[in-house]
Subunit: 367 residues, 4 copies
């Protein structure tokens, strides 16, 4: 299924950057769940560009819930959330109409859709399509929080500059999780945040861009959720995260570092505590055999530097087929890592809820 | 869907390590495709343990194609491949019946299945279940090769020891791809291979285990295959690879390294060559916007060290609920990286064919 | 998947009768297909109530294509069509808030959604939700017609009054198919149509309602489309048709009559004509073994009488749990058979295209 | 998905009539469910041909559970059941190798698979493939019975001869349900059964065949199960039933008869009884708005007369493309209605369990 994702809980997305509207259909939510529209607004607001480190495009992202919510609660039917496109300046893209931006989907969109694609502002490939996903995710997230399940994401690094370590048990991370939930540049160490922003501005000044790494946790997941094959927790989470534009790698727990460790270092010892089985360390990122251990699920994804830059680059004219050069114009982000953080953080609850519904049934969420 | 994966081409797997048989149903292959049983045998043989660097369990992996093949060709109906379990020594696992192996799925299997799981030899979580996937993948792979699409996988590193670089255009890699296809320890640099094996034996001597990183390419994929959201090539490939036991990270192209690069370094310039659009470099790993560029698809996955080791570890008795210690007995691999290489290499063709069928229809494979 | 249907081509629907808007996401259409908005308007207009035989609710059904169409052609990305709800008189339903209408989904909606459902006007169960399906189907239908594949539906009977026979080869039915395509009460025999409408008005005068049978054909389907098991053409078509509110039976070819025939009567003799294999009769309705024969696909579905009637009926108060009586108020159709005809006729192309895409790839539609 | 059906509980089938084995993978069963192999044997035995009214092919249908069952209970992993093909006389089919049997899938199999299909004994289209479905269904059925959910099927008619009426509340039908469960020719009225069998033998004597209608109930389904659109109970059940070879129509409750009724006759009055909402009649067949009412689900399907007959028929030679005649040889059933009854009766529990798991989670079955 192309633009639908999920099994017991699914999202279907649609829209182009410069079309009439973008939106999402969230299907599978049980009835009777409170819908916190303020929280949805806040998450959308966190994702929106702001300041000099982001694009100058200013969308209010005012969303309309067209269906599935009745008297402030989910009715159990599909929830369609629409975000109209307002601040559209398609003329900015005229020059790009034919020159493919290197590192961007312009080239492959043309290969796939044969020139019929809506190329304005990246069309359906635009990062803007993540806004409805954030709205849907925020709705799900509020409901999961009432069941004691929280997600949090911080910027682990931008341009090689690292944030403080963010790891531990759910209890140890509780304060940081709370703090991160209100930040549109979610970094634990203020000094690191400052340096990261300097790097972004420096790249921006050069007409260039930077990338980074995000680190997320899901705390409160009960053990036993997930599948041994195919729909492993890792597989399903990664499948979702690779939809966040510019993500090119996903790792869990100690990730690629595990390749250099010995089994005796990588294995997490298990103990019985108050009748529960827990791991004393969490090298496995809360997942063994594709299934949750009840420890925090730890996942990192890398975000490549924004493809659209203001430097001159070699490329082709998609229509004439000839070699040419491109120098981007318009409004573009020199860094999307912090904005991707909000997307990732609201996408994870959708995946977590889907896996939970498969085990417990959707009505569990209301109980 | 739990044990079924794929859309236009799907695999359904079943079986436990010490049950009657393990197997796979491959569904969606068009009719009229030649089935090379020798090649299936060879791939199974490459995956099988051998020498001191692998488990002493010796399975012949004799497979039976129960359906879907008629007069040596696919008939268009589901292909069931069965591999009976023969060399089963369940008594080896008696001691482990209750003590969960740290780093293994014993703990989460218990949490999910409540003690009803077949725990012998890892049951349904056993790496042995990958054998039928290899058989199915080998079948698909032969057919793709006739269309000029090849996969190859080498061990990029084991225990931190790196192989030679394996990158380039399809033409540049042709010889290496051919060479790798017959190796059960697929490393390009013989010295590196020797050192890796020494590390494995050294860990084995300590009753310990090591991990590593695999690097794979798919060459010959036409441009325009994949989807912008959800079923991105990255997302679907990663979803599949996380089913390979012990894989904890997946990255494409320059992967996590991209997080430290600037856009001007990470973007691949595009040129027109003989009427085709090509990228001059391949930092993106042959995928932009979730869709193939026609350059080789480059994917790496990390494999954690084998969980089952012969050192004493803290754990719990799953039945009594009490703390205990475990010291593995039985036949176990001190390293599964090289065996995982064969699995990954035969899993990729299944994913590639699925994505190709979605674009061109399944009959394209026969044409 | 709850509100998503289809494999290579899918529809996702959302909306409630008295919510903000209703709509559909059509996903999987190839790029470059002309979108005939006039035709979509016309089909919506045919479905709309008119005259005394329908409800007095007057919706203009002005639709907005929010995405997936660029410069008048499909762009290859999901097509979201929104129809705002305008003529909403929720107060009509206040009295029904608690009394379940017998024969309607009020009872089971309450059982499923626990009272959180939007009960106004039937909410998500409203026949109104079929409007977006008609819009999506009309879009697909135009494209199929250019490939020589047509659907047509006539009212085979209402209240036991039968239309003329509508059967034959594609050539023999060509004129009728054309005639039916512009009718909002699609009956071949004008006398029969008149009598049917008299029956509807008679029932309406009694505060009662009537049902009927629809008969549809799909002509031009090439042979070899469909699957032998599960996704049989019959199974997939029936699955879709049972979504049309009030449909309680679906049969193909001679349908239930086949149960009284002998094999020698029911079998369709096969002949070779101009290099093609054709059946001389079409008792099987163009489908054998779940797969198309290339003869017209013939399917009938029965539509039960409208549940909402103006007679007093025994029922329960869903909130108090007590027995009560109900006498419907508001605007309701005494017969929905003719409106269901338009829905069925536009739903069939979606199913047909999905099955065709699975065989030939979606780009076949553009070729 | 071609040979996989179901969402929370799925079946994947494979095999050809004269291949190595046929089988099924049942996936999604929770762990800890007792597996009654005697019951599976018995259901397979009921489906097997016997006496003069069936084919002379004698298969013992000895099945092997290769996976997913441990110590007599489900382990929660996929259950693969294999039935080897033993009594294979492929030479009987040599004459048919090229002549398509009218009414059979020979023609469409050739159109779909291009001559590569295994044509022996109908190959993958053979009714024999229903044996593994019966085995899987019997396993599920035993588990549902422990939750008070029963299915029963009787032959409503063969060749126009009708059985006694079989309708009522769950309590009223309890005895008949029990009686039917042990019959391989499940007819309530012994006289009717005798006459039906006479008709079969009479047709058989003429080298001809007969068809019939099956009527099934599912009793004990709680209210609120199903979906308003697409995955309506009717849609999903019908989708499954059209996989039973020769089924050409499916109807629920009063089915096509509803088309002649008025709303005041067709609507089922609702009453409150002991705190539950119940319908006083059951014209709707236990389903409103696609969702269960808690009344028995009533479904009928028609089975066309067996296609393979011993009379001379016009057909084509699939390979030469020329017109020819066919006169079947080999072992064939003059009637498959009674055998289809067993298939339908064991298929319904799979669909019911899938819909129940979606609402309550799979572990509900064990609770």
């Amino acid at each position: 299924m192309r633009n639908t994702f999920g099994s017991a809980l699914s999202v279907t997305i649609f829209g182009e950057s410069h079309g009439g509207a973008i939106g999402v259909v969230l299907d599978g939510m049980p009835s009777g769940i409170e819908v916190d529209t303020d929280r949805i607004s806040r998450e959308l607001s966190l994702r929106r560009p702001s300041g000099k480190i982001s694009t100058a495009r200013r969308e209010k992202d005012e969303f309309v819930i067209e269906s599935g919510v009745f008297n402030g609660k989910t009715s159990g039917t599909p929830i369609c959330i629409i975000i109209p496109n307002l601040d559209v300046r398609s003329e900015d893209y005229t020059a790009m109409k034919r020159a493919a931006r290197p590192g961007h989907a312009d080239l492959t969109a043309y290969m796939k859709y044969g020139g019929f694609e809506d190329y304005r502002g990246g069309g359906h490939f635009s990062g803007r399509i993540t806004a409805p996903l954030v709205a849907a995710g925020a709705l799900v997230r509020c409901a999961l929080e009432k069941k004691g399940i929280f997600t949090a994401t911080h910027i682990k690094s931008i341009a090689g500059i690292s944030d403080a370590k963010f790891f531990g048990t759910a209890e140890e991370m509780a304060e940081e999780i709370k703090k991160l939930s209100d930040m549109n540049f979610p970094v634990l160490d203020d000094d690191a945040a400052k340096k990261m922003q300097e790097e972004i501005l420096s790249a921006s000044g050069d007409g260039d861009s930077v990338g980074g790494v995000l680190e997320s946790v899901i705390v409160g997941m009960p053990g036993g959720v997930g599948e041994p094959w195919f729909d492993t927790l890792e597989g399903v989470i990664a499948h979702a995260l690779f939809s966040v534009p510019a993500v090119k790698g996903v790792e869990f727990g100690d990730g690629f570092e595990l390749s250099k460790m010995r089994g005796s270092e990588a294995n997490d010892p298990i103990r019985s505590e108050n009748g529960n089985f827990v791991t004393l360390t969490n090298h496995c990122g809360g997942i063994l055999g594709g299934i949750s251990t009840s420890a925090p699920i730890v996942v990192r994804c890398c975000v490549k530097p924004t493809a659209t830059i203001f430097k001159k680059q070699d490329t082709v004219d998609l229509v004439s087929g000839e070699n040419t050069e491109i120098e981007a114009k318009g409004r573009h982000d020199p860094c999307i890592v912090h904005r991707a953080a909000i997307v990732v953080n609201n996408l994870l609850p959708i995946v977590a809820a889907d896996m939970l519904f498969q085990k417990f049934g959707a009505d569990w969420l209301r109980a």
